[in-house]
């Protein structure tokens, strides 16, 4: 971890209106440390659209363009085009969307930008439900979770959409998962994405939501770290949609992560076993792809 003393607050102003322990705020702080001041954020409807300050305020020292819900990716594409036409190729354009604005209503626009290879970084800070409207399920809400639209015994019975595979299928130049609990890895990935200009980059950020998940605000990082240490949210990178690198996972049982959260409190041991099996299968798939990548690279190297 960085030992550099830093008396300023980076590129944010204090006084944002996020909940105590807001993971999205932590994500923004990490990201801007790596991206620097030559950055423009395009933010669709999401928690952070509000957290970043209601009129006439802003919480950031970089420009923000608030967009409608469905279209942050293409709005960023438009900003990119406008900057390019004015000769500004230095500024990084980042779409900063929640899971709704990525997995659900924003997916079409994201897919379009990714297919075109637009020169933007699309960041999904994933808190696994519509938190801004009061915790409704999204297609990023994981199996087993209770939300206000998957309440009681109607807790979510389907798994979370695999957005990384969707982006890999687009063959985006760079896709990575990042976790607010791993700041070095997080910032490295944002710096790498910033440097990989000229193509679409996608970063899937795990941003805990103590309010929506039913954990103490002080445990925002602890719970996020558990997501990776249980391999519920492994950290990995995909280059050009085919080359996989695994950065971090873990073999703690998923129960360590699930049972400490209000949204999963109702799960029975057999439900936990089901989630564990699914996590194991997902992790095995990633590992297969990592292995395949290594074999392929070795082959081309030797050829």
């Amino acid at each position: 971890m960085s030992q550099a003393l830093n008396t300023d607050r980076g590129l944010t102003y204090p006084g944002n209106v996020g909940c105590p322990g807001c993971g999205a705020n932590i994500a923004v702080n990490h990201a801007l440390r790596a991206l620097g001041e030559k950055t423009i954020l395009v933010i669709p409807a999401c928690c952070y659209a509000i957290v970043s300050g209601p009129y006439p305020q802003t919480a950031l020292k970089v420009p923000i363009l608030h967009s409608a819900f469905a279209c942050s990716a293409v709005t960023a594409s438009g900003v990119r085009a406008g900057l390019d036409m004015q000769g500004d190729t230095e500024t990084t354009v980042v779409a900063w969307a929640g899971d709704g604005g990525t997995f659900d209503i924003g997916l079409q626009s994201l897919s379009g930008a990714a297919e075109r290879g637009d020169d933007i970084i699309f960041v999904c800070y994933d808190n696994e439900a519509y938190m801004n409207t009061g915790v409704q399920r999204s297609s990023s809400t994981p199996y087993g979770s209770r939300t206000t639209t998957t309440p009681g015994q109607g807790w979510k019975k389907t798994r979370k959409k695999n957005i990384m595979e969707i982006m890999a299928a687009h063959r985006v130049a760079y896709a990575a998962t990042a976790n607010i609990a791993y700041p070095d890895d997080f910032m490295r990935k944002f710096a790498r994405a910033r440097e990989a200009r000229g193509a679409t980059r996608f970063i899937h950020v795990f941003a805990s939501c103590p309010t929506g998940w039913g954990v103490a605000s002080g445990h925002a990082i602890k719970i996020a770290r558990l997501a990776t240490r249980t391999s519920v949210f492994p950290l990995y990178e995909i280059e050009n949609g085919t080359d996989y690198t695994l950065n971090a996972g873990g073999d703690l049982p998923v129960g360590d992560y699930l049972t400490v959260q209000g949204r999963f409190k109702h799960l029975a041991p057999e439900d936990l076993a089901l989630v564990q099996a699914e996590v194991d299968r997902d992790m095995a798939l990633i590992q297969e792809k990592v292995a395949a990548t290594q074999v392929r690279r070795a082959f081309f190297k030797s050829a």
Partner: protein, 392 residues
């Protein structure tokens, strides 16, 4: 230079001459030729612009919003369902006060699928905060587009330049295409009042609560209220540069007319022939061409129509449950007058049905002969056989 162009290309040529910097679009008949032409220009290097081929009209408008927020001149075009899909972003662009210009080709909305002329698409967007300018032919489309950029940038409101499906969009006409140098004089590079700039970081379009929202909407209304004068000024400058006028309302022989016909779009050209013919036969008939629909030029309407004994409004649109939309707006503009001319409302040519001179002559006749306007709009040219089949 005079060229033979289809109406779509009159608009794309105007956008090229305006040196738009970012264009985005999504194909939809009958608009497609506009963005095709512009993407060709970008590919050929005859236009120094970035073309963003998006996956929906919602994205097309979002893309130009993003681009315009950086301060560049941005353009898109659409039609019908595409415009309807954009609806959310039309609100966004207007309240964002971005001077975007959009070509819009009037087309019906389904079901059933119908790709032909109908004004219901653009009129359904009348409350989004866009300036709406209706064009009569290809030359008008080119001129209006150039004026549209100047107007949009003058008042920080987006402008929709509207042409008829096929009757204008796909019809080749001789068009006087101005020289680039002259256009550059008329339309200097954009000088935005605000833009995204890392050196002066601002948050554009954050949440606005009740304490400020109304004032912002009032500011948009204020801009709309000066837009007509700004349009007149732009049109005057245009006339100085290019010699052609492009007024918000064009009145032809309305002062002493017994009946004034009110038209928009290509019907105006048809009506000109009918009016000429009627006058030759001694009828006192006037013609009022409405170009500007938003902001609605109420004062001009009162000036042109206020003393007419009878007004017949020809609507190629319908607001279900009310009737012709132009007629309604004209009635409400006139209602402040002490002596209000009776307004006869006619609905014609929906979904691309032809509106030949006979239909307009019938409208004139019907207006002259009726004792008073019907309480509701009169639909002209319905097929009784089909209507009867429906009744059975």
């Amino acid at each position: 230079m005079r060229q033979v162009l289809e109406g779509s290309h009159a608009i794309s040529e105007a956008a090229r001459l305006a040196r738009v910097q970012v264009v985005s679009g999504y194909p939809i008949t009958p608009q497609t030729h506009i963005i095709e032409a512009l993407s060709q220009h970008c590919a050929d290097g005859t236009l120094a612009a970035r073309f963003i081929p998006v996956e929906s009209e919602h994205s097309a408008m979002s893309a130009v919003i993003g681009a315009a927020a950086t301060g560049v001149r941005a353009f898109t075009a659409t039609s019908s369902h595409g415009l309807a899909l954009m609806h959310e972003m039309l609100h966004w662009a207007a309240a964002a006060r971005l001077p975007i210009v959009m070509g819009e080709v009037n087309r019906a909305l389904g079901p059933g699928w119908n790709i032909w002329m109908d004004q219901s698409d653009s009129l359904a967007q009348r409350d989004t905060g866009w300036i709406q300018l209706y064009c009569e032919d290809a030359q008008d489309a080119l001129d209006t587009t150039l004026i549209g950029f100047r107007l949009a940038e003058a008042v920080n409101l987006p402008v929709m330049v509207i042409i008829d499906a096929f009757y204008i969009s796909h019809t080749y006409e001789p068009v006087d295409v101005p020289e680039q140098a002259a256009v550059d004089r008329f339309l200097p590079p954009p000088n935005p009042r605000f833009r995204l700039d890392p050196a002066d970081p601002k948050s554009l379009y954050p949440m606005v609560g009740p304490p400020a929202f109304m004032e912002m909407r009032r500011s948009l209304q204020d801009a709309m209220e000066v837009a007509e004068a700004a349009l007149a000024q732009a049109a005057a400058a245009f006339k100085t540069e290019f010699g052609r006028s492009c007024p918000p309302i064009e009145a032809d022989g309305c002062e002493d007319a017994e009946i004034v016909l009110v038209t928009t779009g290509s019907i105006t050209s048809t009506a000109r022939l009918v009016v000429e013919d009627l006058r030759a036969r001694g009828e006192r008939v006037g013609l009022c061409k409405l170009k500007l629909f938003r902001p609605f030029p109420a004062e001009g309407i009162r000036r042109v129509l206020g003393r007419a004994p009878r007004v017949a409004v020809i609507d190629r649109n319908v607001s279900f449950g009310v009737g012709g939309i132009f007629a309604q707006e004209i009635r409400s503009a006139l209602c402040s007058l002490e002596r209000r001319p009776p307004v006869f409302s006619y609905i014609v040519g929906l979904g691309g049905r032809d509106v030949p001179p006979e239909t307009i002559a019938e409208i004139y006749r019907s207006t002259r002969e009726a004792a008073a306007p019907d309480p509701e709009s009169r639909w002209v040219g319905l097929n009784p056989e089909l209507m009867g089949a429906a009744a059975r």
